[in-house]
């Protein structure tokens, strides 16, 4: 049954709090709904359906993974073929696209960044702790992942604010503004083309861009489109996702003194608490493109249709999680899909978990007590990545 509910993923109320809408759809006769808005898409809401879509990668392809179609002209021009591998890759190329970048994200590799992260977080807190208030999203969460990603790529950390602006232009504000999206995508690509050319002229060591340039695939250098694409992915997938998760977790803690006390009294809770924040406030929704006409759970999906993998909805499904709307810091069974599932499960999850842990622990050590200045003044971004963008707290 095709039911047009005309949901709007950029609707203010939906972005601010999508969970009541997810619940209504999930518990209805038709837990997968369709909307013609923003280029048209299907929105499943049940855990089992979303995991099945993630695993059926031959039917639900990654030709496009953004929740709205690309702006006109994006696929043309010299960089029209640049995507964001491996997240935008399908088999068989997906295998080497992913294999090549996994070593930099292994638990052992990301651990080498931990002390630097901790020092950076402490430096941020030094900058505002005496003021008695700060924007937990803009002054803290937003600044942490971009610093790590810049160091991994070997690009200037002083450009962090610029990178953040580009990512928001390409993936946040740009999703409802095609011209902005196109322009910022090009800025990102042109920046990395410059970085690549610089390394070709002046070889360096120990950064990811250099690793990608010396990478050999069947004896040949990796295609330039792949190298630019991975750099693009590092920015667009590595920055606002994790910053949104850190921001949502701090927003939650600001409003829940009992959870702050729990973490203070029992630091052993941190590992399950991190997973629970990821479950309850999963930032990311990815899209898939249907390969051929199929009927999925009674829905007539056509080749080329867009399907949203609403991981935030899956993570609140009562069929999978007891008391799904409660944040339970010691939740024992937590098969959340904040990082997706199947062959495209987030390649950077070890890094994201480490950033989340270091950012939250450092904040809680330095600022154990804090609260929202005005809960109604918190602003949220949504669509592809949901998280707070302004979140003033007092301490």
């Amino acid at each position: 049954m095709k039911q047009d509910t005309e949901y709007d993923i950029f609707d203010h109320d939906f972005v601010w709090n999508p969970f009541p809408a997810f619940d209504r759809v999930r518990e209805s006769d038709c837990p997968i709904v369709h909307s013609d808005k923003w280029g048209g898409s299907w929105m499943p809401t049940r855990y089992e359906d979303i995991v099945a879509i993630a695993q059926e990668h031959e039917v639900f392809t990654s030709r496009e993974i953004i929740v709205v179609p690309p702006p006109p002209g994006q696929l043309e021009g010299p960089y029209g073929g640049v995507k964001a591998p491996p997240i935008t890759s399908d088999p068989p190329d997906h295998h080497w696209h992913r294999r090549a970048i996994l070593p930099v994200f292994s638990p052992q590799s990301v651990a080498t960044y931990e002390q630097g992260m901790r020092d950076f977080c402490n430096g941020l807190i030094d900058g505002f702790i005496d003021k008695g208030r700060a924007d937990a999203a803009a002054d803290y969460a937003q600044r942490i992942p971009v610093n790590v990603i810049a160091r991994m790529l070997g690009v200037p950390v002083e450009m962090s604010d610029t990178f953040t602006e580009w990512v928001r232009g390409a993936l946040e504000v740009g999703l409802t503004n095609p011209e902005l999206r196109r322009a910022n995508r090009l800025k990102i690509i042109e920046f990395f083309v410059g970085q690549i050319n610089d390394r070709k002229a002046h070889p360096r060591k120990d950064d990811l861009i250099t690793d990608l340039l010396v990478l050999r695939v069947d004896g040949e250098p990796a295609p330039l489109e792949y190298v630019i694409g991975v750099c693009n992915l590092m920015l667009v997938a590595g920055i606002d996702t994790t910053w949104s998760a850190i921001g949502s977790s701090l927003w939650h803690l600001a409003g829940h003194p009992e959870h702050r006390a729990q973490l203070r009294d029992n630091p052993d809770l941190w590992p399950t608490a991190i997973e629970e924040f990821l479950r309850a406030y999963a930032p990311v929704t990815m899209a898939r493109i249907v390969d051929r006409d199929i009927e999925f759970q009674g829905c007539p999906m056509k080749a080329g249709d867009r399907v949203l993998m609403t991981f935030p909805a899956a993570n609140r499904d009562p069929r999978q999680f007891e008391h799904p709307d409660e944040v339970i810091l010691d939740r024992q069974n937590n098969r959340h899909v904040a990082f997706g599932a199947g062959i495209h499960r987030c390649a950077g999850s070890n890094l994201a978990r480490l950033e989340l842990k270091v950012a939250l622990q450092t904040w809680m050590e330095r600022i154990p007590e804090f609260s929202l200045v005005d809960p109604t003044a918190v602003t949220w971004a949504g669509g592809q990545v949901r998280g707070p963008r302004q979140c003033q707290v007092a301490f």
Binding site: L102, P103, S106, P271, Q332, R335, A341, R345
Partner: protein, 50 residues
């Protein structure tokens, strides 16, 4: 995830794929951790038999 829940049982190789660190049956004192690894694997790749 399993390497976080039960680091005595699961490790990870150079590309972050899970590896099993012990041979044979899981010692009784690690059973609870093994069950946590099972209950938290998003891919349902872990099954404790008997």
């Amino acid at each position: 995830m399993c390497a976080i829940a039960a680091p005595e049982i699961f490790g990870s190789d150079d590309i972050g794929n899970a590896t099993i660190l012990i041979e044979g049956d899981i010692p009784a004192d690690l059973e609870a951790k093994a069950r946590r690894a099972e209950g938290n694997c998003p891919e349902r790749a872990i099954e404790i038999v008997a």
